[in-house]
């Protein structure tokens, strides 16, 4: 029941906002819905983890196990933060004359949340596919919210590439379904049943299927070389949406990938998927590092950094073993927290400087100390420095890597140094120096930034300690994946 509620809230909110005329009312509904979703999501997740159980609803259409609970937590938490930040941001971006855009933003945001929640709580792989495809459809207008040439271009590319990519994932789904039904007669296209039948699947078919899944959902997860839409879309979308897309949506893509990986590993052993994941992870890392080294646009920088981190997570998954997966999941959380923080801050910077060119953003620390400081902290976290969470998760991932595939890990670490060099140069350029003369001093959207404190606190907390509750939750999630 709780899962249905969880899905219902954003759906209803989306519908009602679409009908509303009053701006203030829209904002209220939006914020309240986000908070309600957060509450429900957390309750559901805690129930799953506490009871070491899963929640099943609507005749097995919806099912939440520990892994889903993790994703639900992330989606609802970051959704709520982005929603609250978004109130201020949208108010600053769209004045009273642009209520239409505001309405579209609020409404589609809710749809976006809904589709993501659906994707991670359904047991039906087909429905999951539909939901993930729907995330694209929900966000494509959000990317194009400003309706500029650039955003249009980004949105179109996003639409076409994601659609083509995700279509391939459907082939994978069909093939898995086929492998399941061919092996054991009639089965549902449910993950649970597929998982149960995994050992009897036709390995040849599963091999092919996983390639489709990898390319398909990999497109959604922003893995190279299917990542090309990502820097465009993430950099053109409004900040709160960028935050959600980079912070959560990519993870939803990965989530789908991981679900299939769990099945594939049972059929083929973990070597096959590991090799593919490590390869594609390294490629993502390499491509991202090249782009980060010479990046001139800070939103694109953040976007490429997402590619990089997705690569790291893939490496973690590829390294496998308890710790590899543990590190990967932990890194999912850390990356989501830090990237969403940074994308929202990039909104602040954009509002302040009215440019996304790194070279024209100078003296951020002096111009807006709060934004600058938080941006610095976020970047440091992203670059894997203590005392922030990613330091720990990367350490865990690479420890697992040295123990299983030392060379891959070493190359990965070397590429991270290149990434570090590139990002640090960009950040240095932005934070320090003398701000432009005509720029007013002071932070914009000071109060909207309050929810970002949650990100910050969580990042630091995860950098210093791992609460046993979290460890348990991750342990259960890993168990779901068969680790």
């Amino acid at each position: 029941m709780i899962l249905a509620t969880l899905l219902l809230i954003p759906a209803l909110a989306a519908g009602s906002i679409a009908l509303l005329r009053n701006r203030r009312l829209m904002e209220t509904v939006h914020a309240l819905a986000a908070l309600a979703t957060l509450g429900t999501g957390l309750t559901a997740a805690i129930r799953v983890w506490r009871g070491k159980t899963e929640i099943i609803a609507l005749d097995h259409l919806l099912r939440a196990d520990a892994l889903s609970a993790l994703m639900v937590t992330l989606v609802t938490l970051l959704g709520a933060i982005a929603a609250i930040y978004g109130l201020g941001y949208i108010r600053a971006e769209f004045d009273a004359e642009h209520t239409k855009q505001a309405r579209m933003f609020f409404s589609l945001s809710q749809v976006f949340i809904f589709t993501m929640l659906l994707a991670v709580t359904t047991d039906n792989l087909g429905v999951m596919w539909v939901a993930i495809e729907a995330t694209t459809l929900a966000t494509v207008f959000l990317v194009n919210l400003h309706n500029t040439q650039n955003s249009l271009e980004a949105a179109y590319k996003y639409l076409i590439l994601s659609s083509v990519g995700i279509a391939l994932a459907f082939i994978g789904t069909v093939l898995m379904y086929y492998a399941g039904s061919a092996g054991s007669g009639e089965i549902a296209v449910n993950w649970t049943s597929l998982h149960a039948a995994a050992s009897r699947l036709n390995p040849q078919v599963v091999r092919l299927a996983f390639v489709f899944i990898l390319v398909g959902y990999g497109t959604k997860a922003g893995l190279a070389p299917m990542h090309t839409w990502l820097p465009d879309a993430h950099s053109e979308a409004p900040a709160p949406i960028s935050a959600l897309m980079s912070g959560v949506l990519l993870n939803v893509g990965l989530y789908a990938l991981v679900r299939f990986k769990a099945v594939v590993d049972i059929t083929l052993g973990s070597g096959y998927s590991s090799r593919l994941l490590m390869g594609i992870g390294l490629l993502s890392l390499a491509v991202a590092s090249a782009f980060l080294l010479t990046q001139r646009n800070y939103k694109r920088m953040l976007a490429y950094s997402s590619v990089e981190h997705m690569g790291i997570i893939c490496l973690g998954l590829g390294f496998g073993g308890y710790w590899g997966v543990f590190g990967a999941l932990l890194h999912v959380i850390n990356h989501a927290l830090s990237k969403s923080l940074l994308f929202m801050l990039s909104g602040n910077i954009l509002l302040k400087y009215r440019t996304t060119d790194i070279r024209r953003v100078r003296g951020l620390l002096r111009a807006s100390p709060l934004t600058g400081g938080a941006f610095l902290a976020g970047t440091l976290a992203l670059m894997g420095l203590p005392p922030f969470g990613p330091f720990i998760s990367e350490f865990i991932i690479f420890r697992a890597g040295i123990e299983s595939n030392a060379w891959v890990a070493v190359i990965g670490i070397a590429l991270l140094v290149v990434v570090f060099a590139g990002m640090l140069a960009s950040v240095n350029q932005m934070l320090y120096g003398e701000p432009p003369d005509k720029l007013e001093r002071g932070d914009v959207l000071k109060w909207s930034m309050t929810p970002l404190a949650v990100n910050f606190v969580l990042l630091v907390a995860l950098g210093l300690t791992l609460p046993s509750a979290l460890t348990n939750a991750l342990k259960q999630a890993i168990a779901v994946l068969g680790g």
Partner: protein
Amino acid sequence: MFVEIFPKLVNLLASLAVGTAFLLIARRDLRGQVRLFAAQSFFVSILAGVIAVFARSAELFAVALGLALLKVFIIPAILNRAVSRIGLQRAVAPYLGAPAALFVSGVLVALAFYVMAPITASNPLPTADAVPVAFAGVLIGAFITVIRRRALTQILGFLMLENGIFLLALLATYGVPFIVEIGVFLDVLVAVLIMEVFIYRIKENFDSIEVGEMGRLKG
């Protein structure tokens, strides 16, 4: 008798469907392209109907009808509306000329047979022989999106790819569960509607629907 004819019929219809995709590669005018897509959808829905009869599946028959409705009528109608609204388009050569593109498509078909061989081999269904053909349709659809410069043609390529996938699912497993199919239809419909909007916006912003114009976001 129907049992004997059935695989051949399936093969024929699948080949026809993929054949229309080949034609699309050669075709330049937008209306003709839309018509080709409608034709392909038509073959696919006929095939779905045939399989539904063969498998005695009411659900599948409903899907076939739905498909026919959606892809033979609604979507072509939408696309035709778009074609009329954007007006006449200057003909632009695709990235690859028709002969070369046809050659590559041939290679893709061979590849499809190569890749899908294990599935054909392991599949007990009578429709299995046509699975590679369906996959060839997928690849050609994707290939069309790669070589064509106009947004509308790219969308058609995507839709053909979608058809290929449907065909693949149909041939390999007699279709996926109903709810998924409905969801997919819904997605495709929404996607096409969104794409239509985008085509207008692109036309408005760039004064043509050539995707090559959109090359400002680099690096």
